[in-house]
């Protein structure tokens, strides 16, 4: 017997694909309506304003996920519509977010995120809902979100901040409390959810002193209880709970030319599970960061030092560190002390910072001998605190570094170093050229610390030339030699490109035109002598077009092959798979 039409319709709506389609159609209609109808509507409210921004990404093509396997079809769709409504001293907002699926890890989500209400008047600030924040430089608390690497340590809770001047001393205080569900993508094949209940507070005192432009002494306190999922539930290993307390102190002093900052944040973990004894215990650890900056017209330099020892463990411990309750927790994110590069090839060899166990320096500076010439320089180095040796009886010994506070460049300490020099010449408004050199060495695997990978990049040659007030030409030319005993190179290539079997050469050439107010077109070509790239390719070609509609809407469409590689932000790195296909991104500010 045929089904009644209403029942057929009802069943049809239960089919996931149809439900999804309806969901997208609704989203499309609403978002399109926002663009089309908004200007014709009027809400004449005094002291009320709202803003909406829209970020939409779609990609379709093929992706290589595992070395040696064929590419598989890949489609992703992401939408972020962020709205805010301001009424007098109140501000509220939320984000409509859709993942189907997300570019990086194929996550699915359709709903509201990051809803909040905040009140701000005079010296008082109160926010409920989704909250972010940082104490000092982030050693004990740094709550932030970066959607490009799917890192989100935002808290759902309440934050209150207040400041007041008392007898010549400005006092500022912040308190916050809430819960966090942190998604850990360290291993994409084992995505873990960690849950935390967090309370924190800080207070700072800034006295008015004649001999200093500014100074501040701050104290912070963070307490968290949490549950870490079991590393092996199939074998009956239970979830682990933690109870951590992180006191911190920081001091900042600024004169006309100098700034000095120092921070120490300790961490006590109660009932911590330790793999070496299989039971709970208490652990005290900590981290220190300091920076000294000098700036003078035409010159600026910053020297930074870090000593992070939140969870110093041996090689076996490092391999399982994400499961340990003693590790640096996701609401902590300290300064990284390495240069976040803008040259494409150099970004492929980046140092993933070990916030649990690292000591190092960075010197970063600028010098302008003339108004139109700038020299940028950067030197950074770091290593682990200990190397480990196991004797014939199986007893392990931790070997400290030769110096108690400097990094050690012996490969057993997993050393990292980088040197960078760039000269920039501005020859007229909107026109410049840059030429740079970079040398980087990173340990291939921190847990082993024996097979460093090094990169030499030269010349890195970037520039822009204004052909007229509207038209511009830009280019990027990069050469890079990577030495890694574990990679294979095309040894038939000329000696200049491939000096030995473990060195491969890559070159990137990019050329683009821009027209202000309209958009631009860029072509990017890359080739390599590496014979075992995960994608199996030796060359990649991509065309990218940008269309601008008004001053606040941009559409970017690209088609071609992308090599993939490491993408890092704040020291947190994610591997992006090689992709071949087209992408579209819409950014709009309504």
């Amino acid at each position: 017997m045929p089904m009644p039409a209403a029942a057929q319709e009802s069943n049809l709506l239960k089919i996931p694909a149809v439900k999804n389609l309806l969901s997208y159609i609704t989203a499309f209609v609403v978002i399109a309506s926002a663009y089309i109808l908004a200007p014709s509507l009027s809400f004449a409210q005094q002291n009320v304003s709202a803003s909406v921004n829209e970020y939409f990404r779609y990609g379709a093509g093929d992706e290589v996920q595992v070395y040696g396997t064929p590419a598989v079809g890949k489609k992703y769709l992401e939408n972020f519509t962020t709205t805010q409504l301001t009424m007098g001293d109140f501000n509220a907002g939320f984000r409509y977010q859709l993942y189907d699926s997300a570019e990086l890890y194929g996550q699915k989500f359709n709903g509201i995120k990051d809803a909040f209400v905040e009140y701000s008047k005079d010296s008082l600030y109160v926010r409920g809902g989704r909250i972010f924040g940082m104490f000092g430089r982030g050693l004990s608390l740094n709550l932030f979100e970066n959607t490009s690497i799917y890192y989100d340590s935002g808290l759902d809770g309440l934050k209150v901040a207040y400041n007041k001047s008392l007898v010549g001393v400005n006092v500022d205080a912040t308190a916050l409390a809430g819960v966090m569900t942190f998604t850990d993508f360290t291993d994409p094949n084992d995505i873990r959810m960690e849950n935390y209940d967090l309370q924190a507070g800080q207070i700072g005192f800034s006295p008015q002193l004649d001999f200093l432009n500014n100074s501040r002494l701050g104290f912070g306190w963070v307490h968290a209880t949490g549950v870490l999922p079991s590393p092996a539930p199939q074998f009956g290993v239970p979830d682990d709970s933690l109870n951590a307390t992180l006191p911190s102190v920081n001091f900042d002093a600024t004169t006309k030319d100098l700034e000095w900052y120092i921070e120490y944040a300790g961490k006590r973990t109660d009932n911590a599970y330790r793999p070496e004894n299989g039971t709970g215990g208490n652990q005290w650890s900590g981290g220190m960061y300091s920076s000294l900056s000098y700036s003078h017209p035409g010159f600026g330099a910053t020297l930074e030092y870090k000593d992070y020892h939140y969870d110093v463990v041996d090689y076996n411990g490092q391999a399982n560190q994400i499961f340990l309750s003693t590790k640096a927790l996701p609401f902590q994110n300290a300064p990284t002390l390495y240069k976040e590069q803008t040259y494409t090839l150099v970004t492929r060899v980046q140092h993933p910072v070990d916030f649990n166990d690292e000591v190092g320096f960075q010197l970063d500076g600028f010098w302008s001998p003339q108004d139109n010439v700038t020299v940028n320089f950067n030197a950074a180095c770091a290593s682990q605190h200990y190397a480990y040796r196991t004797d014939s009886a199986g007893n392990e010994t931790a070997i400290p570094r030769a110096d108690t506070w400097l990094p050690d460049f012996n490969s057993a300490y997993a050393p990292y170093y980088e040197g960078f020099l760039e000269i920039e010449y501005d020859f007229k408004a909107d026109s410049y050229i840059k030429i740079a050199f970079d040398r980087t060495s990173i340990p291939s695997a921190n847990a082993l610390g024996t097979t460093p990978e090094s990169s030499t990049a030269f010349p890195l040659f970037k520039g822009e030339y204004a052909l007229s007030r509207e038209w511009g030409l830009n280019w990027d030319f990069e050469n890079q030699w990577i030495n890694n005993p574990e990679t294979h190179s095309d040894t038939t290539a000329p000696k200049f490109f491939v000096p030995n079997a473990s060195t491969y050469f890559s070159q990137l050439i990019s050329l683009g035109f821009t027209r202000s107010s309209i958009g631009g077109l860029t072509a990017i070509y890359e080739w390599s002598t590496q014979t075992d790239d995960i994608s199996g390719r030796r060359n990649w070609f991509l065309v990218e077009g940008t269309i601008r509609i008004g001053s606040a809407n941009t559409i970017i469409i690209s088609d071609g092959e992308e090599r993939g590689g490491i993408r890092c932000s704040n020291g947190i790195c994610r591997y992006i798979n090689p992709f071949s296909g087209w992408r579209m991104t819409l950014s709009s500010q309504l």
Binding site: T26, V30, A34, Y35, L37, A38, L41, S42, S49, A50, S51, V52, N53, T82, T83, Q84, L85, T86, N91, N110, G111, S120, F132, G133, M134, R137, G138, N142, D172, N213, N214, D252, T254, E259, S295, P297, G298, F299, G300, A301, T302, T336, T342, S368, A429, D430, S431, E464, A466, E470, W471, T514, R515, S516, S517, R548, S551, A552, S587, Q589
Partner: protein
């Protein structure tokens, strides 16, 4: 269905977005550590709030060009404000960089992105032109060579002198 209903809420909000927005009350830090309100820069004349970061090449290009506009129009009431979105790891370098570039306009630090969030900015480069009453007149995302031309024109139209010539209006 709940999600679709929530989505529908976006429509009136988008309509409200067409209403005049004003500069929010957000406290930021100067490069020498002092706290300052974003609103304290409103009132002198046209204000351009330009979000930037040390890692953002087009942002630095925009500021390089607008710095020259600032040097020539500052006395007439134009203020350029560079709000730096670098996080805590780079904050120490910002003052030295601005000094090395010879930028004379004020730089504020927004390491948590509070100001960018309050102004509902998506990405940088992102800049806003604000009149002397604190109303946001336009927003600009991205920067390529030549984008400064319409921005400069808009600033000239908002200068107190331009308004006086036009009959002493408020620039609206």
């Amino acid at each position: 269905m709940k999600k679709q209903i929530l989505l529908l809420l976006l429509l009136p909000l988008a309509a409200l977005a067409q209403q005049q927005q004003t500069v929010p009350d957000v406290t930021l830090q100067t490069t020498d550590g002092k706290s300052v309100s974003l609103r304290s820069y409103v009132g002198k004349g046209p204000l351009q709030i330009a979000f930037w970061a040390l890692w953002c090449e087009p942002c630095k290009q925009e500021l390089k060009v607008m710095s020259q506009v600032y040097d020539s129009l500052n006395k007439q009431g134009y203020t350029l404000l560079g709000v730096c979105e670098d996080n805590q790891k780079s904050m120490a370098k910002v003052r030295g960089f601005a000094s090395a570039k010879g930028w004379n306009f004020p730089i504020l630090l927004d390491p948590n992105g509070d100001a960018l969030r309050k102004l509902n900015g998506l990405n940088i480069p992102f800049s806003l032109i604000v009149d002397k009453e604190g109303n946001i007149k336009s927003t600009h995302i991205g920067y390529v060579a030549g984008d400064e031309v319409p921005v400069e024109k808009e600033i000239h139209e908002l200068l107190p002198q331009a308004n006086a010539n036009a009959g002493g209006g408020t620039g609206k």
